[in-house]
């Protein structure tokens, strides 16, 4: 187990380092932020002074070396736009994003797993058709459209929920539903598929023959064995939720890291984009590790040596 962990953590450093190189190259390929940051009436000399002050006039490899060195010290530099440390700007938005993503994930799982299970058990019934239809709609509805529709119906017309920003739990409702929809549909389909496989297996037939009650049969014996692919999916979905959060956070004016990333990309605010992307890479790596460890807990046959 320890050897496994060490291997994985070393691998994780490799992944993050790779991401850092790629994000640096891509950002610097997309152009110099000086012209976008300075007003149109600035002179060439003023633009040059800005580039010099920010170090953009140094050779690319020197800029990279300095970026890498600072990165090793946890220093992403000052945001070009805000004039504050980039990592701090990214970190202070993590709680809001995490709150939204975790709520959406919980919402998705709470709805999708029972719905997927019922659909599998009652295969081809009206319930199953309804669940499958819902999954289809959920996966094919653009987040942008869904968010605006929820705002118009539940915010503007019915006045049930606020439509922007944070505050009480009411503020979470519409963005969480918007963000959860796609994930909910995917987990529901997966649960249904996985349950169908399990329901046809020999050991379940044996269990039925031994007289295990149907409730216990489904929720204890079948679902437990169907869990493995679902847990993997949930892990991956958390990543999807974080990336889809860019749109959801923008529509609902949610002060999260997605919105910060969006604006930073538009502004070519290199330090902030780098901080957000690397923070994202770190969280992906951590989530994957946790999912792998969860396997061992869920399936006694899996042991990491």
């Amino acid at each position: 187990m320890t050897a496994f962990l060490i291997r994985r953590i070393a691998g994780a450093f490799g992944v993050v380092a790779g991401v850092a190189v790629v994000v640096f190259i891509i950002l610097h390929l997309t152009g110099d932020p000086a012209a976008a940051m300075m007003p149109l009436e600035s002179t060439q000399a003023e633009i040059a002074a800005f580039r010099h002050a920010q170090g953009f006039d140094r050779p690319l490899w020197v800029q990279f070396a300095s970026f890498a060195w600072n990165l090793l010290h946890g220093n992403f530099g000052l945001s070009l736009r805000h004039g504050e440390p980039a990592l701090g700007l990214a970190l202070e938005r993590v709680p809001a994003s995490a709150e939204l993503a975790v709520t959406a994930l919980v919402l998705a799982v709470v709805v999708a797993v029972p719905a997927g299970t019922v659909a599998a058990v009652k295969r081809n019934s009206a319930l199953d058709v309804a669940a499958r239809l819902l999954a289809l709609v959920g996966q094919s509805t653009p987040v942008y459209w869904l968010g605006i529709m929820l705002i118009l119906i539940f915010g503007v017309q019915l006045g049930w929920f606020p439509v922007s920003g944070t505050g009480g739990w009411q503020h979470l409702v519409l963005p969480a539903i918007t963000l959860a929809m796609f994930t909910m549909a995917r987990i529901m389909r997966l649960t249904r598929g996985s349950m169908l496989d399990v329901l046809q297996s020999d050991y379940l037939r044996t269990a039925v023959a031994k007289g295990v009650g149907s409730f216990r049969l489904i929720w204890h014996h079948a679902l437990r064995n169907a869990w493995l692919p679902i847990v993997t999916a949930i892990g991956i979905e958390l990543g999807t939720l974080l990336s889809q959060a860019i749109i959801t956070e923008t529509i609902f004016s949610w002060p999260g890291i997605g919105r910060l990333a969006y604006q930073a990309i538009l502004d070519r605010d290199y330090p902030v984009v780098e901080a957000v992307v690397i923070l994202g890479a770190v969280s992906f790596v951590v989530i994957n590790l946790v999912v792998d460890l969860a396997y061992a807990a869920l399936d006694p046959r899996i042991r990491y040596e």
């Binding site: 504050e84 709150e99 919980v106 439509v163 944070t166 009480g168 739990w169 979470l172 609902f252 004016s253």
Partner: protein, 510 residues
């Protein structure tokens, strides 16, 4: 404060989502009547008023900091921190400061603060975007605590240093706390006192009871950014906000038809135009072609169809409310026959052999991409083949900086000096960074106007310079935008041409 995520919360959410009806009326927080909530598209990026020039950030700082002068609604300069200002020598402008003004912490506001402010912006190491505004000032002199003198490099007819936008900061406070601290802890003398700022969420301000101008009518002001236009409109309709900026024309009916909402508009100082890059080889170097294209574009039709009627055709790059505008310059009225005739004279009968690219940004100006496509369509009616090349802003503006966009490119220009000088020099002088026009006779005229102190003579110089631009047609002259705002009916406020949002100019009725 935010509630932390937890499973019970998720369960409650689910219940809430399923039976939200029971919650009706409880979801929206009650607001005190003397609070105004303002929603711009983006949050201020910093509380440091000396760094950036972008409007949403300046709109926040202008409520916390005072400036030496202000513009009234008509663009006339009026006293503010400075009670008087005059030209005391060809290169010296003198300001007399109002006595008894203090910062929120009680520090008196004196000439030393003004000097500190200008020097801070001028310092290249600060990398301030406001640098270009003070680059004509050689040094600042402070003969006494309430007299400030700006000494300029050259004689100038225009009050230097943008005293209507430059926020005066507390030098003592700044020196005590250093640069980085200012980004989140402002210390101003203005109408509203900083309370708290949660980035991308809320900036809270309270009326300053000791403000030298008297306590403003509204007790609290909240700046709450909402990036998405449709969401901004929704938030206005639900009463979550009182004022929204940048309303796309398609939402006008929703807002003006709303029970508690109304539309405010102002003729913006921002002009939109298509420039010909005359510094690069190509048919756009031919003046006849440039004039032909001006006749080919139907500006009123563009305003009607693409902007829902919200725009004003422009005859010159200088808006009518600016010093230096010339009413003598005619419009290019749409005349396709004349356009074709001029094209033939230019050597392109029926536009034969003419293939041109119209460059435009997307998402930078209201309906920019749509306008570019419509204009390309109108130009193609001459027989020329005009296609659009649309790019994202950062890429686009870099090419502007290198004068690389050619032969045609769209650009918008907003200036809050209420004077022709900055516009006419930055956009058309041969050596200006983004200028793609070169005409020594024109350069001489605008240079002379910059230093001409006699207003009659100065206007005559601008009349001549603008006549040259009309005749030479380095642009397709398009229009000034009409800025649309949505407000709640309880808010009394009139939108301004310079896009500023001074809360002390607002009041609420119940």
């Amino acid at each position: 404060m935010l509630e932390r995520p937890s499973t019970p919360l998720a369960v409650r959410l689910l219940v809430a989502a399923l039976c939200g009806g029971a919650l009706a009326g409880s979801a929206l927080p009650a607001q005190a009547d003397s609070t105004v909530t303002i929603s711009q598209g983006v949050d201020p990026v910093t509380m440091d008023p000396l760094k950036r020039t972008i409007t949403p950030t300046q709109n926040a700082s202008m409520n916390m900091f005072d400036t030496l002068l202000r513009h009234d609604r008509e663009g006339k300069i009026v006293p503010w921190l400075a009670t008087s200002w005059k030209h005391v020598a060809p290169t010296v402008w003198e300001f007399k400061l109002r006595k008894g003004v203090t910062f929120w912490n009680g520090d008196p506001l004196t000439s030393a603060d003004v000097k500190f402010t200008v020097e801070k912006i001028k310092d290249p190491a600060e990398g301030s975007e406001q640098g270009p505004r003070v680059n004509t000032i050689a040094r600042v002199e402070t003969p006494d605590a309430y007299t400030v003198r700006y000494v300029t490099f050259k004689p100038t007819a225009i009050v230097p240093g943008y005293p209507w936008t430059t926020s005066i900061v507390d030098a003592k406070y700044w020196k005590e706390h250093g640069n980085e601290y200012q980004a989140e802890h402002p210390m101003g003398s203005g109408a509203y006192v900083f309370q708290s700022w949660r980035k991308d969420e809320e900036l809270d301000l309270n009326a300053n009871p000791k403000w030298w101008h008297g306590k403003p009518p509204i007790d609290h002001a909240i700046f709450k950014p909402i990036p998405e236009a449709a969401s901004r409109v929704a938030a206005l309709r639900t009463g979550e906000t009182d004022l929204i900026t940048n309303v796309p024309p398609q939402y006008e009916a929703q807002i003006s038809g709303g029970r508690n909402t109304k539309i405010e508009s102002a003729r913006s100082d921002r002009v939109l135009f298509i420039a010909f890059n005359t510094t690069k080889p190509g048919p756009q170097q031919n003046k006849l072609l440039r004039r032909a294209f001006n006749y080919a574009v139907d500006v009123p039709a563009l305003i009607r169809t693409v902007l829902g009627g919200h725009g004003y055709p422009a005859s010159t790059p200088v808006p009518p409310n600016f010093t230096g505008f010339s009413a003598k310059i005619p419009f290019y009225h749409h005349d396709l026959a004349k356009a074709k005739q001029l094209l033939a004279k230019a050597g392109y009968p029926d536009g034969k052999g003419l293939e041109l690219v119209l460059n435009a940004p997307v998402g930078r100006y209201n309906r920019d991409k749509e306008l570019a496509e419509a204009i390309a369509g109108q130009l193609s009616e001459t027989g020329a083949k005009v296609t659009t090349k649309i790019q994202e802003w950062t890429t686009y503006v870099n090419q502007t900086s290198q004068r690389a966009l050619t032969p045609l490119y769209m650009l918008g220009w907003g200036d809050n000096s209420y004077d022709a000088d900055n516009t006419l020099t930055s956009l058309f002088e041969s050596n200006a960074r983004i200028s793609t026009y070169a005409n020594p006779a024109y350069d001489t005229l605008v240079d002379a106007a910059r230093y001409e102190v006699d207003s009659g003579k100065r206007q005559a110089l601008y009349d001549k310079a603008l006549a040259i631009l009309h005749d030479d047609a380095p642009w397709i002259f398009l229009f000034q935008y009409d800025d649309l705002y949505g407000t709640s009916k309880r808010l009394q406020w009139r939108a301004r041409a310079d896009e500023s949002l001074a809360v002390d100019e607002m009041s609420l009725s119940n």
